[in-house]
Symmetry: D2
Subunit: 347 residues, 4 copies
């Protein structure tokens, strides 16, 4: 039997951090050996996250104390702009990295710099990074030293489109619209007024219409697969009063005489985490709560040429920490499902 | 000074019923004299709805006891299929009716019968009924003896489209998509499993994609105004975990070189209950909670020819009871705002 | 007809501020002439609180610009420690003040300074201030130049106890326990992590057990009325995942052979905002949502000498802004109900 | 290696049923071989509960088809009154039973019949049944053929009291008050109006004050351990707007000069599912969401002889399905933690 690999997490005080810790606690092939936070150094995980009492014995460390270069794999669950500064050093030492932030997601550096408002610290590492939409890039992920874990909206929107775009099935010149709804945890564990229960609760609104950072990320994926479609893409994110969960309703036009259900279910038949449901199904976000699953259905709008795709994920799992663990599994040759097998929590 | 008019409510045990009672309690020109319910006859309003303690002294009566024909105006807050049986008799006696159910909304009887699954009891009354989208049909409502109060989705979707359709500004051959999100109160005060807090809470899903009854109602409005657009209409309703509130995100294509903000703000400048916000605004449902207001914004999607309309209402107020009171005000020549002036409840 | 009085609000950017503005918008005898905020000066109310679009034409001003000394009445909706600095100057100019913060609630200055962690700026004004539990101190409030509006917990707990304490009906030596549950808006409109939807949502917890600032405030009221009971008082606040609403469950021991329902309903028979329900009732918070009402019931625990009081208020209305308006009405000789007559919002 | 035991579930269409299926899906020593429902026979689990898609291949069967007598263990997740009719036959065939309903919880048959409103079908089986509060009765559970799984409130209230009652540490003559708050899932997956999102959401209320069925169940436990305390017990349940979670705030009087934290932490030091937190802690329900854990703290009320116990569980896990699995583990000699090791879901 192989010994376990050593795993470190940088910046584990947020929602993706605690979710990583939850999932990794059941993974039989890894051991979390270091968890860093500058602000909480010295605090035990169990005191910081009472849900982890009795599960982890670790305390947060400063990056310096943590000896991350002793790890086999390091997850960055940090705000944008941190991983690009710290990753190069670890890569040199042979550590493999899964970055949950946006630092390595966009291959076009000027585009990244425009949307994220800073200069990129290591463009060369971007070129080396593999975009971690697991079902799209499994082979490249297996060999990658650094994986850019996708954003939540890009995961939810791209997975149902992937097989259709790969085959070039979308009709050009017609709009491709992703109307997306996210739970509030997508905004992170920060004390901003808009995420208060009294502001986001019993309320629904669109936001970021003028331009959300996940727009160029999704466009990049579309461009890679069916370039002439990218300019037709419209993306409107909304905030919905729930903790976890994301729902994309995608409106698209397909070439005539194809059966998209066949294409999707065929493409994903060996993917344990993508569930293509029968046409007519309406997947609901709670059916994937806490689980690394994307459920999809596709059907025609009544009396209309428009196709409607419904896609749901848990934004913190398949949209963040779960896909990160899945990518780690692929990178290290583990069974893709390790640490990701518990059933969704319903109700 | 005029004496107050007498108002009756048929079937006031549901959410639209209690909302009518809340709004009418502050109306200076009316008196609620009869409230009927077969199942709750004899129960006082205050015992049934503790929020009405100290506000109403009435008890529910059977329709027979209630002498509704003594009323000047009667609201039907009943399930579909009730008003069409009881309205004709009251109309003969000169009572004016506002029906909050769907019985008189669709002019084409075969279409109504197909979507509502029953034979219509009085097609002639349908022809006489005025569709009560207040801002569309003010003059006709003022003269009507019976008003068909619109559904919540049709109100939320039609108000922003109305000025554009009237001027024929939508581009033919391109999709017109209404992605709508409703709070759970839209499903009514019935003990169905899908509306439980443990089913609808912390969850988001689409429903009724194959065909929702509000689809033909919205199509009728579009057809009346810009007929060639109706067949391009796509409607997907979603359930969002909040009590009140409805949000429509409408994607549309406009003819070149027009300024839809100008058109909308001009059209609604004298309408106290439609608030056209500056482009770039993102109206939120809580900004109209408890109030008879529709807030609208319109803007271009970035790098795209698609226009995005955002429209919010409280589904129980402008989407039901509030618009019904507004219609009553118009019918009786009252100030349109009576009973509808309290500010939204935020937070 | 009298001219309207001029009203100013200091610090109206929080939840009690916007609630004051909502309630005052329907008050026929007043006009809001000044609203101050140092941080938001220049911003219109309608832009800051979209729920107030079309209702107020005012913008926030700095305190200097606002000429508050021209007002007849000024509400302080500020953090603790502000009113005590600004009130004395206004009082000298003859302005009447209702302070919604805690600055003037505690008559014993050392106690106040210990619990609020600062030196009091004007102990003499404290002695002059009347504690604004409206139903307890109506006569004194009518003559007061400055009223200390009570905290939300003290209002919810004290109203049901008031008649019993006044008559000295509680049994000494036995515990008096207030187990209280508050909606999250009680924590204010501040970006603290604990009030996030993802922290406070789908969660329930006690807090402040070691000592909450409302403990000495409630004890003061008890001491004033039945002093030997104060030391038996236990207070445990809890946070419950809702926006508005407060529920107190009070456990107490009464002297033998008294009928507390009679005592309470007799005491409150002329109080429009206290609703004593029949024994066996279980008032719910939503029955007072948005309304200036306290609903109360009292009953024996089965097979036990313990009495159980249930008391509900909307923490932002009877627990803050509504009681403040009620106190203003009493101070200026208006009908106590002006601005406070709209029915609770249910559902 | 032993072969897996065969497990059946009767009545798995409710919340405790789907929770049992979730937990058992990760249990390495069992196989679910039969799931019954009269109303849903023929429907696959995956169609009924979309969260179970890809996890179970079973369909609901009628009890007749299901051959439950071939199972090693059968869980009853049925309404009260079902298990007492079906259990005797299975017991005769040697099947071991864990009943999640109330049929076998109360040893005194007249008491049971009074509270549950029916005649008991098998009083002799009641005498044979072991009360399944795991930490109280481990040895008896290990040998039992039938275990009566406790109610959610009794579990949450009894676990912190157990060590104190066993040592006779409560003061007689003083009240013992359990103020309890439950999420809505405790009401089950039934279409009753009171559990609708629009009724139970954004609302808080007490219920069942006149007498809740869990009152005699808790009193039975108290009587067994420190009989003179039972008559001092007061129990008030409340409904709080969350899906899962239960919080008990217990007020009690202890004999002088004891350290209850020492007593509790000593008693539970080898219990993997009871977490005694340091005095001053305030456990929150979300810290146990989805997990079979009871977290407890105990501390003195300030300036008072009253002790305050805080106790939280997930009502569907330690309060129902989780404790049932724990009991099965004890009965079959498995590691007590099997199937119960995933971390709580936070946020």
């Amino acid at each position: 039997m192989h010994s376990k690999i050593k795993v470190g997490i940088v910046g584990a005080t947020g929602y993706t951090g605690v979710e990583l810790l939850r999932l990794l606690s059941t993974h039989p092939q890894i051991e979390v050996t270091a968890v860093t936070s500058r602000s909480e150094a010295g605090i035990s995980l169990a005191d910081y996250f009472p849900s982890l009492r009795g599960i982890y014995d670790l305390a947060f460390q400063t990056p310096d104390e943590a000896n991350l270069d002793q790890c086999d794999a390091v997850f960055f669950a940090t705000p944008n702009g941190v991983a690009m500064k710290e990753a190069p050093e670890l890569l040199k030492k042979g550590v493999r990295i899964i970055d949950l932030s946006a630092d390595f997601r966009i291959q076009d550096i000027p585009t990244w710099e425009q949307w994220y408002g800073m200069a990129h610290a290591c463009p060369d590492v971007v070129r080396q990074a593999v975009y971690g939409l697991s079902e799209m890039n499994r082979d490249a992920i297996a060999k990658a030293q650094i994986v850019a874990n996708p954003g939540c909206y890009p995961t939810c929107v791209s997975l149902p489109l992937l097989p259709l775009l790969q085959q070039g099935r979308l009709k050009t010149g017609m709009p491709l619209i992703a109307d997306c709804k996210s739970g509030v945890s997508g905004a992170g564990r920060k004390g901003n007024v808009g995420s208060l229960l009294c502001e986001a609760g019993d309320n629904f609104k669109a936001y970021g219409i003028g331009g959300h950072r996940h727009l160029p990320e999704i466009k990049q994926t579309i461009s890679d697969l069916q370039p002439d479609i990218a300019e037709s893409f419209v993306f409107v994110p909304h905030l919905t009063p729930m903790i976890r969960g994301m729902h994309a309703t995608v409106y698209l036009h397909l070439q005539d005489n194809i059966d998209p259900y066949e294409i999707l279910s065929g493409f994903y038949q060996d993917s344990p985490f993508v569930d293509v449901m029968k046409p007519g199904s309406t997947p609901e976000t709670r059916s994937v709560r806490g689980a690394n699953i994307c459920r999809i259905s596709i059907q025609k709008a009544p009396q209309s040429p428009v196709w409607i795709v419904l896609s749901v994920i848990d934004n913190l799992v398949k949209g963040a920490a779960g896909q990160a663990v899945q990518n780690m599994n692929i990178m290290f040759g583990f069974d893709e499902r390790l640490g990701l097998q518990s059933a969704p929590l319903l109700p």
